[in-house]
């Protein structure tokens, strides 16, 4: 468990690492802005550490009932042309086309 206040020391390197994880190519000025703003927000979160949550279960979802399952039967799905209609590059072969994966 982190000690309270640790987040205010959020570094620029850390922001760059997070941006890379989130697949965001940030400009220098944005990285700087986010470093400051995220540090401020994270230090605001630190007040949660004041609350004793020993033995308290986590609520991940307001619905507690068992997941609904349906029979795993084949049924019609979205036609391929409809699914591809919004693609920036459908390649003409009925596929989503992307740039090469290995440079």
């Amino acid at each position: 468990m982190l000690a309270s206040g640790v987040s205010t020391r959020l570094s620029r390197t850390e922001v760059e690492r997070i941006a890379a994880l989130a697949h965001l190519e940030l400009t220098d000025s944005k990285t700087e802005l986010f470093t400051r703003q995220l540090a401020e927000i994270l230090s605001y979160f630190d007040r949660l550490q004041q609350i004793d949550t020993t033995g308290v279960p986590a609520t991940t979802h307001p619905v507690t009932s068992a997941p609904v399952m349906r029979a795993d039967d084949p049924r019609p799905s979205l036609p391929r042309d409809d699914a591809l209609a919004n693609a920036p590059d459908a390649g003409g072969d009925g596929l989503f086309k992307v740039p090469k994966v290995i440079g």
Partner: protein
């Protein structure tokens, strides 16, 4: 009734019974949008052609059938809800040009009930924000004062209904995104119980918090809307099997001897005096109608905002991973130096998302990353349990919990855009209902001394929207604040006392306002 006087679903029913056609009503609303939406910018897309086609189809069905409760009723739909054949962008560049191949379940159900989608409304990008300023198409303005924000993220829907550009609208509420703009614009706004309404076709922001709900001018219209969209849906595994009661049928039955809790402790700091005055006057109305008002401690409610801002961005960082330039409309161009897939992802997301969305993706990625998960995410989920327990305890002795919807009235455009944290803390009264899944309604409860609307929020037990509607409808009877149309509205109300009259600006701000005064004033509306 002539088309030009129509404001509510009830008005449309009367007008159609009197011989007005759906096409005439639809034309009326399209004309209002053309004439009045310019400065407001509630709509990002007006579906004139499709709407008129639909209206003609409704007219061909002949005289109104009982099976079509919303026959000929125009509805504005927030731009993060999928509409087949109509652009759906969530006000983001990354979805510019996206046209969904299917309707969201709510849209399908409204259409089946006879409603007509008249257009898509502006919102904060991916529903992240409280001002409707974070939109690729520019901000929406508050019809009460064009220099102020309408609230958000469903600001376009709220402004459209307030300005009488659509009788009803759909929004989505993840931390207050229906209720807060409803309060800022003086309309009714409901966040249903989590699971009451299918989320299928809603562009996901935070899946454990998101819920679609209606905007309307009156409680009755909000109830009619919920009736049409509620109920289990095989396409959304989190939609609930609970039976949907006939809200319309019980609406006019007062709740007998209701007990209403007020968490006075969290109202002590940071709430505008004008908001407290209007809120207290609303509490007096409830008391005069026989409600017992009791103090309820919600010891963890003060932690709702930090809890929410850990949970929501964490879920968002995962949900928004799908926008990668492959399937949905937008892809950033590559240059000769970087031609690989990873560069395409990074550039598309950097140029496609706005700053607030990026901030939240970053925040969520951080709190979920190795080494921080327990300190932030798990901790917030545990506090979420404590908040839920506070409400469970309170609901053992109260039927509803009342607070102002927001700590302030609508603020100026641009006033808070450089301080995200300042905006976040404005969710203090609304975020708990999302964390707990409980239903909550915002009702207009008068104006502050500067003439801006104040919202009364009532939170109810899970799946008990009925009590909220009944309390709200009763309250509205004695204090029909919705009849005060804003200055920028297309219809200026049937009320003799309205914008421009000297009395308006003082209402709600008067220090010694009480139930008797309220009742006297409301009498002026009749």
């Amino acid at each position: 009734m002539t088309a030009s006087g129509i404001q509510t679903v009830a008005d449309i029913r009367i007008a159609m019974a009197g011989g007005l056609t759906a096409v005439e009503i639809c034309t009326q609303y399209l004309e209002r949008i053309a004439a009045h939406d310019g400065p407001i910018h509630a709509f990002t897309h007006v579906a004139a052609e499709q709407a008129l086609e639909r209206a003609a189809m409704i007219d061909r069905l002949g005289p109104r059938e009982p099976g079509l409760p919303l026959a000929g009723v125009p509805v504005a739909v927030k731009d993060n809800i999928c509409t087949r054949g109509l652009p759906t962008t969530a006000s983001s560049r990354i979805l510019e040009g996206f046209v969904p191949p299917y309707d969201a379940t709510v849209v399908e159900r409204l259409t089946r009930a006879g409603a007509i989608v008249i257009g898509k409304t502006n919102c904060d990008e991916f529903a992240m924000g409280s001002t409707t300023e974070h939109s690729v198409s520019g901000p929406t303005r508050n019809p009460w004062d064009l220099d102020r924000v309408p609230g958000g993220s469903s600001g376009g829907s709220a402004a459209a209904v307030a300005a009488r550009l659509s009788p009803v609208a759909l929004g989505s509420d993840t931390g207050g995104s229906i209720r807060q703009p409803a309060a800022f614009c003086g309309t009714v706004g409901l966040k249903p119980t989590y699971g009451r309404v299918s989320r299928y076709g809603l562009l996901a922001f935070a899946s454990s918090l998101d819920q679609i709900g209606p905007f309307a001018l009156t409680v009755a219209d909000a109830a009619t809307m919920l009736q049409a969209i509620a109920g289990q849906d095989p396409c959304d595994a989190t939609s609930a099997a609970e039976a949907v009661p006939a809200f319309d049928a019980t609406l006019t039955e007062p709740v007998s001897d209701p007990t209403i809790g007020v968490p006075w402790q969290i109202l002590e700091d940071g709430v505008d005096a004008g908001v407290i005055t209007a809120f207290s006057a609303a509490i007096d109305v409830l008391r005069a109608q026989g409600a017992k008002i009791v103090d309820v401690p919600l010891p963890h409610a003060a932690y709702a905002v930090p809890t929410y801002y850990v949970v929501a961005p964490a879920e968002a960082s995962s949900n928004l991973a799908r926008y990668d330039g492959v399937r949905y409309a937008y892809r950033a161009p590559l240059d000769a130096a970087s031609t690989d897939l990873a560069s395409m992802y990074d550039r598309t997301r950097d140029s496609g998302f706005g700053d607030e969305v990026k901030r939240r993706i970053m925040l969520g990625t951080y709190t979920l990353s190795a080494g921080y998960y327990n300190a932030y995410y798990l901790k917030a989920q545990q506090v979420r349990t404590l908040i839920r327990r506070d409400y469970d305890t309170a609901f053992q002795r109260v039927d509803a919990i009342a607070t102002p919807t927001t700590p302030t009235v609508a603020f100026g455009l641009g006033e808070r855009s450089n301080n995200p944290l300042q905006l976040y803390v404005g969710d203090i009264f609304t975020a708990s209902a999302n964390l707990t899944g409980l239903p909550a309604i915002s009702l207009p409860c008068g104006l502050d001394p500067s003439g801006l609307p104040v919202g009364l929020q009532l939170v109810g037990r899970a799946f008990d929207e009925e009590t909220l509607f009944r309390l709200g409808a009763r309250c509205e009877l004695d204090a029909p604040w919705w009849r005060d149309a804003p200055p920028a509205a297309a219809v200026r109300g049937r009320s003799a006392r309205n914008a421009g009259s000297p009395e308006r600006s003082g209402v709600g701000g008067t220090k010694d306002i009480d139930a008797v005064t309220m009742a006297r004033r409301s009498g002026l509306h009749e």
